[in-house]
């Protein structure tokens, strides 16, 4: 029904044959399409406008890497910005207050407040082991109180006995009181649905808030909401005051733009998602899921990931080129280390290669863990750009400063520098060979002069049941035989330095040396 953003963008951007950075004109053209796509996904106009302004600032001048189209590049930038706007980290329900902690649910009619209350109560009881009481403050909708009572029974959570004739504020007070007396950890207050134009009803909600002093006030809103999302979120936030948002009916096929609108206008985190009518249909918020929907592509994730992998592969190729020229500096090393972390650390990387389990164990024994990778990146991060380009500058006083900055010891820095020097030297030596490191490696592995194809690599691995001989694989004794310039390896990961030598680069972290 909808065109995905990347198809639209490819229409206008991919005509550009020019490579290099995205120009202001490119970005303008793309921004129009992004704008339309967001509007079609029900993101509110005002929010779209703000989003586009930021997007333009970010995208102009971004370098388009070779293997992705400019359209894909923009999609990736949009995707990243969406996730950032939606809130990249999960923001859980906060129960950090004296018991009973009150949680109040508010929202428009039929948005899913009562259902969500019961789902949340179930989760609080079963998963978080909190003694929970629910109370319905809905004195208006026919059978609203019965609905909550029935759900309470279903999920095995107590509900406040119904007393006819009480106002919502009175019920709230009674609920808090019952919460105190009954030793409840949490009191969940379900309220009646209300339109934001109804002054009396909005005032009533504010009054309930004052009376019950809830620690969380959650706006329960339908993920299918259209342009009104801005209004409703703003009104509830201004009149009642929100601490978070719950997005219901995520199990529908709506584009979910309302999520972005509500998050943007209130600044309040989206904490939970409703994924069905049933009581187990409640999940923590996943910004990627919403971002993917807004962009309207089922395959956006893979596409973006592919683009990202390609970006990484190109970076690696560039690094390889620098290596060949003997320009491998600490920036390059950092990039390599970050790559390794990204690929799931050494463990993840090794796990991707067939027949390598044994080696993995050896590495584990050698204490080469991901913490080490992170520490090394931290060390490099504590250097100045000049130091990174020119490690020879690093004398004792500088090392001390870096050690302090990265929370490491001077000897850690020495180890890192030694490793870098070893790698750089080796690369230079190999690079001076006529056909470059790849050819050298190929030779050693018996592929003649050519580069082994992924299939050949696979075959090679299969030929070595039980793993590769320790230290016997060219490519730095135990490091995956994957190298820059080989972007199409299974898993698509870019290379590690340390090519072609039958031995480890001197001092490579922890390898072969027990701590």
């Amino acid at each position: 029904m909808f065109d995905g953003l990347s198809e639209r963008l490819s229409g206008i951007l991919d005509r550009l044959t020019r490579r290099g950075a995205l120009s202001a004109a490119d970005v303008d053209a793309a921004a129009r399409e992004v704008r339309r796509a967001l509007l079609e996904a029900d993101v509110a106009l005002d929010v779209v406008t703000g989003f586009i302004t930021t997007l333009k600032e970010r995208a102009v001048g971004v370098e388009v890497i070779k293997s992705v189209t400019p359209g894909q590049m923009v999609v990736k930038i949009v995707h990243d910005q969406l996730i950032e706007t939606l809130g990249a980290t999960a923001d859980p329900i906060d129960l950090n207050a004296p018991a009973p902690v009150a949680i109040m649910m508010v929202g428009l009619q039929g948005s899913g407040k009562t259902t969500t209350s019961a789902k949340l109560a179930k989760r609080l009881t079963e998963v978080m082991k909190r003694k929970t009481l629910m109370a319905s403050l809905d004195t208006r909708r026919p059978a609203a109180m019965e609905q909550l009572a029935v759900l309470g029974q279903q999920v095995g959570v107590d509900t406040l006995p119904i007393v006819a004739g009480q106002t919502p504020v009175q019920i709230a007070q009674r609920a808090i009181q019952a919460g105190k007396l009954g030793g409840y950890d949490v009191v969940l207050l379900d309220t009646a649905g209300r339109i934001t134009l109804d002054d009396a009803m909005m005032a009533e909600a504010a009054e309930v808030r004052r009376a019950a002093q809830p620690h969380e006030v959650l706006l329960v809103a339908d993920a299918l909401t259209g342009q009104d999302a801005v209004n409703l979120a703003k009104s509830f936030n201004e009149r009642v005051g929100l601490t978070g948002i719950v997005l219901t009916r995520i199990d529908g096929d709506g584009r979910g733009g309302a999520a972005l609108s509500m998050r943007a206008v209130t600044g309040k985190p989206i904490k939970l998602m409703g994924t069905g009518e049933k009581m187990d249909g409640l999940e923590d918020f996943h910004p990627t899921r919403i971002a993917d929907r807004i962009l309207g592509m089922g395959d956006i994730v893979s596409l973006v990931e592919k683009a990202a992998a390609t970006i990484d592969a190109e970076k690696a190729a560039r690094t390889a080129e620098r290596m060949r020229k003997g320009q491998f500096d600490l920036n390059d090393l950092r990039e390599q280390l970050e790559q390794m972390t990204k690929m799931g650390g050494l463990g993840g990387l090794m796990g991707m290669l067939p027949g390598i389990a044994k080696m993995k164990n050896q590495m584990a024994a050698a204490n080469l863990d991901d913490k080490l990778l992170k520490r090394q990146v931290a060390i490099i991060n504590s250097m100045t750009p000049r130091e990174r380009r020119n490690p020879d500058l690093l004398k004792n006083s500088r090392k001390k400063r870096i050690a302090a900055g990265s929370g490491t010891r001077a000897e850690d820095i020495n180890k890192l520098l030694k490793m870098h020097r070893g790698m750089a030297d080796m690369m230079k030596a190999m690079g001076s060979g006529k056909r470059g490191p790849m050819a050298a490696l190929g030779n050693m592995m018996g592929f003649g002069g050519g580069m082994p194809s992924p299939e050949e690599m696979q075959k090679l691995a299969e030929k070595m049941p039980g793993g590769l001989p320790p230290g016997g694989l060219p490519g730095a004794g135990g490091l995956p035989p994957n190298m820059p310039g080989l972007p199409k390896m299974p898993g698509g990961f870019p290379g590690l330095p340390g090519l072609g030598s039958g031995k480890l680069p001197p001092g490579f972290p922890g390898l072969g040396k027990k701590k």
Binding site: P142, Q147, I195, G252
Partner: protein, 312 residues
């Protein structure tokens, strides 16, 4: 309540919604045209004003283009723009503004009410029951939502309010059997209008949509012409997804007409214009509140003017 006062009351509500919505369409148009002459960029911005009312990109473009015809490089007033908007939308909506006609020869006339969760089905049924009773018809309700907690109780309360008998079984029972039973009972009791409530379901859930199909199938065993009307209840707050709701529910259950609820809120329900442009399904009623009288016949002109931000 006579027709004109009722009309006024919902019209007032719509207007109320508009004037208090800070980013209302009217203001946006005024801001836009007071600045400059009409050019392509201005038309595009007018388009976006319509998008803000949930018209969707395509229909908004069409309606906005009408403003451009013969007016390029001229300056226009906000009122002109709004009038053109309203006229264009009315053109699209007028053919679908059709009352729900109860065919007296069908005994009972069976109305199946369907829609996504929480759209306002049960409440609309209560309002319809009141309306038909007031017209002197014998109304019966069937509590076909056997899934949602206390859905049966909710309908029973509406039954009491409107003095309509309610056929219900227990929670978890088979909805199709209940519909069958209700239709049989309604026939036996010479009921004029039987309205069947159903559980809310999202249109992308094949299993639940299949159940709906089954309800229709089973009823036909009692009366091959039933259901005589299949009303899809749409929530005005919903955005572009309403289009796919119309498509899927029509495919599975043969929707014969639409009701749009919650127009008393700030949502403008402009998606109805897009739906009318694409599907030409009759729009019978709008819901403008939670009370029993908060149902009005759909009037294309009034609706179009409200969406365009035109006063009275």
């Amino acid at each position: 309540m006579n027709d004109s006062t009722q009309k006024k009351s919902w019209w007032q509500r719509l207007k109320g919604g508009l004037s208090r919505t800070s980013s209302s369409i009217g203001t946006a148009i005024t801001d836009l045209v007071s600045k400059r002459r009409l050019d392509a960029a201005a038309i595009e911005e007018l388009e976006e004003v319509l998008i803000r009312a949930d018209l969707g990109v395509a229909v908004a473009a069409k309606v906005a283009a009408a403003v451009g015809e013969g007016r390029y490089d001229k300056s226009v007033t906000a009122d002109e723009v709004k009038t053109i908007f309203a006229a264009e939308m009315e053109k699209i909506l007028a053919p679908v503004a059709q009352p729900l006609v109860i065919d007296g020869s069908a005994k009972p006339f069976v109305i199946l009410v369907i829609g996504v969760n929480g759209s306002g089905k049960t409440t609309t049924i209560g309002k319809l029951a009141a309306k038909f009773s007031a017209e002197g018809r014998r109304v019966m309700l069937a509590a076909g939502d056997t899934f949602r907690a206390a859905a049966i109780e909710q309908l029973k309360i509406w039954g009491t309010r409107t003095q309509a008998p309610v056929i219900a079984s227990t929670a978890g029972a088979d909805a199709a059997s209940l519909a069958f039973e209700a239709l049989t009972a309604a026939k036996a009791q010479a009921i004029d209008v039987l309205i069947i409530d159903t559980a809310g379901r999202l249109q992308n859930k094949a299993g639940l949509m299949g159940e709906l199909e089954k309800i229709v199938r089973v009823m036909k065993k009692v009366d091959a012409s039933a259901p005589h009307a299949v009303l899809l209840v749409l929530d005005a707050t919903v955005g572009q997804n309403a289009l796919s709701q119309v498509e899927e529910f029509s495919r599975v259950a043969g929707v014969t007409g639409l009701v749009m609820t919650k127009l008393d809120g700030t949502a403008r329900g402009g998606i109805l214009v897009a739906i009318a442009a694409k599907h030409r399904l009759p729009v019978h009623f709008i819901g403008v509140g939670e009370g029993v009288d908060d149902l009005s016949p759909f009037a294309a002109g009034d609706f179009a003017r409200a969406v365009a931000g035109l006063d009275g």
